[in-house]
């Protein structure tokens, strides 16, 4: 390269600087390539390190859990291992039914409140909506055990302070539903807000221009258009709710029977895993893997199913 050193003309400082940069860049090229390769390699190592424990969990789950799956496992009620047959721990039908009832009731009140409140967040630009959004965001991040205390105080023992008296109904499925439902509402709210905001404002305005009131537009235009997103929102909230253990830890009591009455004590799959895993019986500890595999299976089916269903519905609409 020429630096432009011509007799009588002073060297161009910009050119000089460029030359210097190029010289340094060339001189350090080997080192920079080595460093780059090493650091990118380290990122690859990090990925491997991250994937190992995650695969280890899935491997343990399947390897130790799958052989528990049988007709009896899903249809019988649990029993303590006896001296005669220390491996017979019965089944988990009580926990499956309990989970269905508890999460079903929770969904029943959380879905309408969550979606309608989500609609409010999407339609209103007021300060109030902003405050409510922040509240919902903070609620989704709070440890779920706090909702366990809440349900215990309000539903199990009842509220008795400052002259306000609400009778408690004791350890019951309802108390669990309450905790799980309160957990689901803000999750559904935030996710439905996102789905409802995704509806193009031209569609909304077309409805309003035809003279429809906002309520009619919301019911007939906005909600149907956002339906795939709303379904995903609900199912994702549900998949999170099904696995929650902390909020129901000491509010649903325990039942070894198939119990359909939500005012009575109930069982639940995540709780059953917790109790089996920490029990002194070897067979029960092993059985926990079977329940865990089933729980993960259910959660992943709901989770994946919601994504696939939403994608399918979206494609059908086109």
């Amino acid at each position: 390269m020429t630096t432009g050193v011509v007799e009588g003309i002073p060297p161009d400082p910009i050119l000089e600087r460029r030359e210097m940069v190029q010289r340094v860049a060339r001189k350090t090229l080997d080192r920079r390539i080595v460093v780059s390769g090493a650091m990118i390699g380290l990122c690859g190592v990090a990925l491997v390190l991250a994937v190992i424990p995650l695969f280890a969990i899935l491997y343990s789950l399947v390897q130790k859990g799958i052989h528990w799956w049988s007709i009896d496992f899903f249809t019988k009620v649990p029993q303590f291992p006896s001296l005669i047959d220390p491996n017979d721990v019965g089944g988990i039908s009580n926990a499956i039914v309990g989970s269905l009832v508890i999460d079903g009731i929770a969904a029943l009140f959380a879905i309408p409140i969550g979606i309608v409140a989500g609609l409010f967040l999407a339609e209103s630009e007021s300060k109030l909506a902003g405050l409510l959004r922040t509240t919902a965001e903070i609620m989704t991040g709070l440890p779920s055990i706090l909702l366990g205390i809440f349900a215990y105080q309000m539903i199990v023992i009842g509220f008795d302070q400052w002259g306000i008296k609400l009778p408690g109904i004791g350890f019951s499925g309802i108390a669990g539903s309450f905790a799980i439902g309160v957990l689901m509402i803000p999750v559904i709210m935030k996710a439905s807000e996102t789905a409802l905001r995704g509806v193009p404002s031209t569609i909304r305005e077309a409805g309003l221009a035809l003279g429809a009131r906002r309520g009619v537009v919301a019911r007939k235009v906005v909600i149907p258009t956002a339906l795939p997103g709303l379904i995903t929102a609900v199912l994702l909230a549900l998949s999170r709710a099904v696995g929650e253990t902390a909020p129901i830890l000491w509010v649903i009591g325990a039942s070894t029977m198939v119990e359909l009455n939500p005012k009575k004590e109930m069982a639940s799959m995540p709780l059953q895993i917790f109790q089996s895993a920490t029990s002194p019986y070897v067979a029960l500890r092993e059985e926990a893997w079977g329940i865990a595999l089933f729980l993960v299976f259910v959660v992943l089916v709901i989770n994946l199913g919601s994504r696939l269903f939403a994608a399918w519905l979206q494609r059908e609409r086109r």
């Binding site: 994937v51 609609l119 909506a129 965001e137 706090l146 935030k190 906002r214």
Partner: protein, 310 residues
């Protein structure tokens, strides 16, 4: 905006707005009652022990002394252990997923990570208790004690169920969250910037360090903050692998307790005063996670977070 506020007037469709206000009001009411009930439940403890709940060193139901300093320390220590490993490994993995893997594998691994974020925490606890604890007791903890010569905080005896194990399980639990959210943040850095930097002669790592990471900084900070909140409040998985020891853990290998695990394990058999003390722990935990969370939400507006699952 003016059009919006006109539509917002209740007169335009009072039935519609009353339903919307009704549901939102109900949610707000639940939140208010929730806060009040936690505060009310803890009042007897504050009037019994005062602020010494926060700085007291002894937690014992037999002497009715409720000082949670050791428990708060345990909470912070497990979270710190988890973050110490999860931040470099998580952010490194996110970089590798975005800039190293080919398209197919990228999508596959991303969805795998998102699914793992959905695995219930009790399952992580089960794995920690039945698989990781024996391994920690026989291999990891004696190995660490051997390397460090048993100096603080690595003194024997290894117990398996321990502060270190709780940190390890938390690390595995928050990892998918950090990977998923940082990947979102890294992926939105414009490709033109990446290629522009490459074209002036920077190596790939230089581009990542000088262009990509600064661009993704707020997203990564948000991911770490939300993961911190999750680790502080994680209950069941930690309760299963940390033991129940409300005293100062002398070493990383000894049992300890966190705010959430103490509430989970002691609530059932608690005396009325102890229930109140646990309510006070709940209030401390609530304040800690709410602050961390509120801080984190300022940063994160990523796609994985939008669904509210993570």
């Amino acid at each position: 905006m003016t059009e919006k506020s006109k539509d917002f007037s209740v007169k335009s469709d009072w039935a519609h707005w009353s339903v919307l206000y009704g549901a939102s009001g109900l949610f707000a009411l639940i939140c208010a009652v929730f806060l009040i009930s936690i505060i009310v439940s803890s009042i007897p403890a504050w009037s019994h022990s005062g602020a010494s709940i926060i700085y007291g060193r002894v937690w014992s139901q037999s002497t009715n002394s409720f000082g949670a300093l050791a428990i708060i320390t345990g909470t912070l220590a497990t979270t710190a252990i988890a973050l110490f490993f999860a931040i470099p490994i998580g952010v490194g993995s996110a970089i590798a997923i975005v800039h190293l893997l080919p398209g197919r594998l990228k999508i596959l691994l991303s969805s795998l990570v998102e699914l793992l974020a959905a695995v219930p925490s009790v399952v992580y606890g089960l794995w920690g208790l039945l698989v990781l604890a024996p391994w920690f007791e026989k291999t990891v903890e004696p190995g660490l004690a051997g390397i460090t010569g048993g100096r603080f905080p690595f003194q024997a005896p290894p117990e398996g169920v321990s502060l270190l194990l709780a940190g390890g399980v938390l690390f595995v639990m928050i990892l998918p969250m950090i990977v998923a959210l940082s990947r979102d943040a890294i992926a939105v850095v414009p490709n033109e910037q990446f290629e522009g930097a490459l074209s002036v002669g920077a190596t790939k790592w230089q581009v990542i360090r000088k262009v990509v990471l600064p661009g993704a900084r707020t997203g990564i900070v948000g991911a770490v903050t939300l993961a911190t909140a999750r680790a502080l409040g994680e209950t069941v998985a930690v309760a299963m692998v940390i033991g129940l020891n409300p005293l100062f853990p002398p070493s990383l290998f000894s049992t300890a307790s966190t705010l959430a695990s103490t509430i989970a394990l002691q609530f059932q058999d608690a005396t009325p005063l102890q229930v109140a003390a646990l309510g006070a722990l709940a209030l401390i935990l609530m304040a800690m996670t709410a602050i961390v969370n509120w801080f984190g939400r300022r940063f994160v507006r990523g796609s994985a977070f939008r669904a509210g699952v993570i």
